[in-house]
C-alpha cells in the first residue's frame, strides 16, 4: 500500500474502531447471535485462541508482518475499478472492489494469512480447514506452503466433483484433501469434519476457519482480518467519487453472502455511515436470513435453514461457495437491527450476471460475487443514478469448467 493510502486507511481505522461492527459482547455475542456452542474439549482452545488473537492484533510487530505479507505476497491494496460500459447499460455508476485480483484469486487470502501467522505464533504445526468452492482451501494450502506447515482440507464430495481444478491446486500446493461424505456432502459437512478433526488434534492443530462463522472468536477474528477490504474501499471511493462529492462514499454497498466473510469485510468500511445502504445477497437455495429462523449449529447461534424439529436443511446453490444453510452471526444481527438488508437471487439470474460482466467489462467473476451483480441488475431501476459498490470477491477461473457444462453450446 502506498504511504498516502496507508495513512488515510489508518485514520479511517481509528474512526471505525467505535462503529457498530465492533467487538462482540459477552461470549462472542452480536446482539443475541454468536456464542460458543462446541464440545467441552474445544472450549479451552477457543479461549486460548481469543487471547492469542487479542494479543497479536494489538502487537505492532504482528500487524506489520501481516501488512507486509498482504502487500508483497497477496498484492494488496486491491484496485477499485469503475465499470463504465456496464454502468451505462444499467443506469448507475458501478464500482468493483477487486478482491478477485488478490493472489489465489479471492478475498480468502486476507483471512488465511492472518490466521496462519497467528497459528505460527501460537506454536501450532498443522492447519485444518473446510472449504466449499475450494477458494479458502487453496488459500489455506498456499499459506501452509509459505509458512512450512502441514495442511489438511475437508471438502464435500459434491464440491470435489464440481471444483476439481481447486482440488488439484490444493494438492499441488502440498495439502491433503479429504472428502466429506456425510449429509449433503457440501460445505456444511466439510465444517463438521473439520470440527471433528480438531476435537481430536487440538493440541498441535490450528483450525483455520474460512468465514465469519463458527464459535467465538472466529466470526469476530475473521471479520477483523477482512476489515482491510472495507478500509481500502472507503479511501478508494473517496478518491474515485472526487472532491465535489458531498460524502465521498457510495450510496449502496453490495456483497454476496455464504457465511458472509467478504461482506463483513467490505461492510466494516461503511457501517458507521447510515447514509450508505448495505446489501447482502444470498442464493435462493441457501438463504439463511431470507428463509431461515434462529438456530444453533457449528458453534454459533444464527439464522439457519432447518426443518420444524431443528434438523439442518441441505442448501442448494449453483455456487459451491454459498451452498451453506447458515450465516455468520454478525449478519444475523445486522439483519435484525435493520442496518443491512439481505436479498435473494436465483441460479438463473446468477448465470446471466456471470456472462454479462464477462462481456461488458472483460472480467469473469466467480459465481459467488455474480450473486451481488445479479441483484444490482434486477434492481437497476431503483438504483438509477446512484453510486454502487460491489465487492468482487473472487475470479471466475475456478467456475469455467462448471459453466461450460451449464452453457454448453449456447455461446
Amino acid at each position: 500500500m502506498n504511504n498516502d493510502l496507508k495513512n488515510q486507511a489508518d485514520e479511517l481505522a481509528q474512526v471505525f474502531a467505535s462503529d457498530m461492527v465492533g467487538a462482540p459482547t459477552g461470549v462472542g455475542r452480536f446482539g443475541e447471535f454468536g456464542g460458543m456452542f462446541v464440545p467441552e474439549t474445544l472450549v479451552p482452545a477457543l479461549h486460548e485462541l481469543e487471547a492469542a488473537f487479542k494479543d497479536a492484533w494489538a502487537d505492532p510487530v504482528f500487524r506489520n508482518e501481516l501488512d507486509t505479507l498482504l502487500a508483497d505476497y497477496a498484492g494488496r491494496p486491491s484496485p477499485l475499478t469503475r465499470c463504465d460500459r456496464l454502468g451505462e447499460q444499467l443506469g448507475f455508476q458501478l464500482y468493483l472492489k477487486r478482491e478477485d485480483l488478490n493472489h489465489t484469486g479471492s478475498h480468502k487470502i486476507n483471512n488465511v494469512l492472518g490466521q496462519a501467522l497467528l497459528a505460527k505464533r501460537m506454536g501450532k504445526t498443522r492447519l485444518v480447514a473446510e472449504t466449499g468452492a475450494g477458494q479458502h482451501g487453496v488459500a489455506t494450502a498456499t499459506a501452509a506452503a509459505l509458512m512450512d506447515m502441514e495442511c489438511l482440507v475437508y471438502m464435500g464430495e459434491v464440491d470435489i466433483a464440481r471444483q476439481e481444478l481447486n482440488v488439484f491446486r490444493m494438492r499441488l500446493l502440498g495439502a491433503e484433501v479429504t472428502p466429506a461424505v456425510s449429509g449433503s456432502r457440501t460445505l456444511k459437512d466439510a465444517v463438521n469434519e473439520a470440527m471433528r478433526d480438531w476435537v481430536g488434534t487440538v493440541e498441535h492443530t490450528y483450525y483455520c476457519l474460512g468465514s465469519v462463522l463458527g464459535p467465538h472468536p472466529y466470526p469476530w477474528m475473521v471479520r477483523e482480518f477482512h476489515r482491510v477490504i472495507g478500509t481500502e474501499a472507503a479511501v478508494q471511493c473517496r478518491v474515485a467519487l472526487g472532491a465535489d462529492h458531498p460524502t465521498g462514499r457510495p450510496d449502496v454497498v453490495v456483497a454476496c453472502i455464504g457465511g458472509g466473510s467478504n461482506a463483513a469485510g467490505i461492510f466494516s468500511g461503511f457501517a458507521a455511515f447510515p447514509e450508505v445502504d448495505l446489501v447482502g445477497v444470498e442464493p435462493e437455495g441457501g438463504a439463511a436470513i431470507g428463509h431461515g429462523i434462529p438456530g444453533i449449529v457449528h458453534g454459533m447461534k444464527s439464522y439457519l435453514m432447518q426443518d420444524e424439529f431443528g434438523q439442518v436443511s441441505e442448501a442448494q446453490s449453483i455456487s459451491a461457495g454459498l451452498d451453506y444453510p447458515g450465516v455468520g452471526p454478525e449478519h444475523a444481527h445486522l439483519a435484525d437491527s435493520g442496518r443491512a438488508k439481505y436479498e435473494q437471487v436465483s441460479d438463473a439470474e446468477v448465470i446471466d450476471a456471470f456472462q454479462l460482466l464477462s462481456r461488458t467489462e472483460g472480467i469473469i467473476p466467480a459465481l459467488e460475487p455474480a450473486h451481488a451483480l445479479a441483484w444490482v441488475v434486477r434492481e437497476k431501476e431503483s438504483l438509477a443514478g446512484k453510486n454502487v459498490l460491489i465487492n468482487m470477491s473472487g475470479r471466475g477461473d475456478k467456475d469455467v469448467g462448471q459453466m461450460m457444462e451449464v452453457l454448453g453450446d449456447t455461446l
Binding site: M36, P39, T41, A45, V199, G200, F309
Partner: protein, 262 residues
C-alpha cells in the same frame, strides 16, 4: 441430600456405587427401526441407566458409527417428540437419560423440552455442544422442571474450570476419555484414567468415562479409577450389524460381567 431425594438416573448410579459395583450406561440411538425392543433387551442385561440419543443432522461430537445410526434413524422418520413419546410408553425398570444436540432442544423450546422429558420419565440430559458458557438458559429450564444436566469434562479442561464444570453438573459427570469424537479404539487411552482421577479428586458425583470405551476389558481397566462407563459406538455397531436384541444384550452383558469381576 439423602438417597431418596435423588432423581432416578443419579439414584441408580449411586446405588450401584454404594454396593461396591461399577456403573454401566449403554448408549442407543433412538428412532432406529425396533429401537424400543433394543432398549428393553439392554435394560435387562445389567445396565444401570440407558443413554438414548435423539439423532441430529450434524452431530459434531460423533464418529462414523453414531453418524450412520443417526442418519438411518432420521431416514426412518425419527423426531424428538416421537422419541420422547416412545420413551413415555416404555417401562423397562432402568432410568433414562437423553443425549442430543442443542439445536433440537432450542427449536423445541427449552422449557417445553424439559417438561416433555419429565413426562417421558427421563431425568437427565446430555448436550455435548452446550458447554458452561452457553448452559445458563437451558439449565434454568431443566432445573425448574426437575431434569439434571450432565456436563462433559475433557482432558483439555483446566483444573480451575473443572471445578466449575462439576458444580454445574447433575446426575453424573461425563468424563471424555480421550481427545477425539465418539468411536471405537483399539486400546484404552492413557488420558481416560487421568481425567477420571482428576474428577474423582474434586466431586462426589459418579464419574463415568465415555468416548473410546470399546471392550469389556477397557471398561474394567478404566473403572480401576472411574465409577463407571458409557459405551456407545461399540454397542451401536452391533445394533447396526445384527439388528438382534439378543445379540446386543449379550454384548452389554459382557461389560456387566467384566465390571462385576473388577
Amino acid at each position: 441430600m439423602s438417597a431418596s431425594d435423588l432423581l432416578p438416573f443419579q439414584a441408580s448410579l449411586e446405588a450401584r456405587r454404594s454396593s461396591g459395583g461399577k456403573c454401566l450406561v449403554p448408549y442407543l440411538t433412538g428412532g432406529l427401526p425396533g429401537w424400543e425392543l433394543m432398549l428393553e433387551a439392554v435394560a435387562s442385561a445389567g445396565a444401570d441407566g440407558i443413554e438414548v440419543g435423539i439423532p441430529f443432522s450434524d452431530p459434531v461430537m460423533d464418529g462414523p458409527i453414531i453418524q450412520e445410526s443417526s442418519e438411518l434413524a432420521l431416514a426412518a422418520g425419527a423426531t424428538p417428540p416421537g422419541i420422547l413419546d416412545g420413551l413415555s410408553r416404555l417401562d423397562i425398570g432402568v432410568p433414562l437419560a437423553v443425549m442430543t444436540y442443542v439445536n433440537l432442544v432450542y427449536r423445541f423450546g427449552y422449557e417445553r423440552f424439559a417438561d416433555s422429558m419429565v413426562k417421558a420419565g427421563v431425568s437427565a440430559a446430555i448436550l455435548p455442544d452446550m458447554p458452561l458458557e452457553e448452559a445458563g438458559d437451558w439449565c434454568g429450564a431443566a432445573d425448574a422442571a426437575g431434569v439434571q444436566t450432565v456436563m462433559l469434562a475433557a482432558p483439555t479442561t483446566p483444573d480451575e474450570r473443572l471445578l466449575r464444570v462439576v458444580e454445574r453438573c447433575g446426575g453424573f459427570v461425563y468424563a471424555v476419555g480421550l481427545l477425539g469424537i465418539t468411536g471405537e479404539r483399539d486400546s484404552l487411552a492413557a488420558s481416560a484414567k487421568v481425567i477420571a482421577k482428576r474428577l474423582k479428586d474434586v466431586t462426589d458425583l459418579p464419574v463415568l468415562v465415555g468416548v473410546g470405551i470399546s471392550t469389556p476389558e477397557q471398561a474394567a481397566e478404566v473403572c480401576e479409577v472411574a465409577d463407571g462407563v458409557v459405551v456407545g459406538s461399540a454397542i451401536v455397531r452391533r445394533v447396526l450389524e445384527t439388528g438382534s436384541p439378543e445379540s446386543v444384550a449379550d454384548f452389554v452383558g459382557s461389560f456387566r460381567e467384566a465390571l462385576d469381576k473388577g
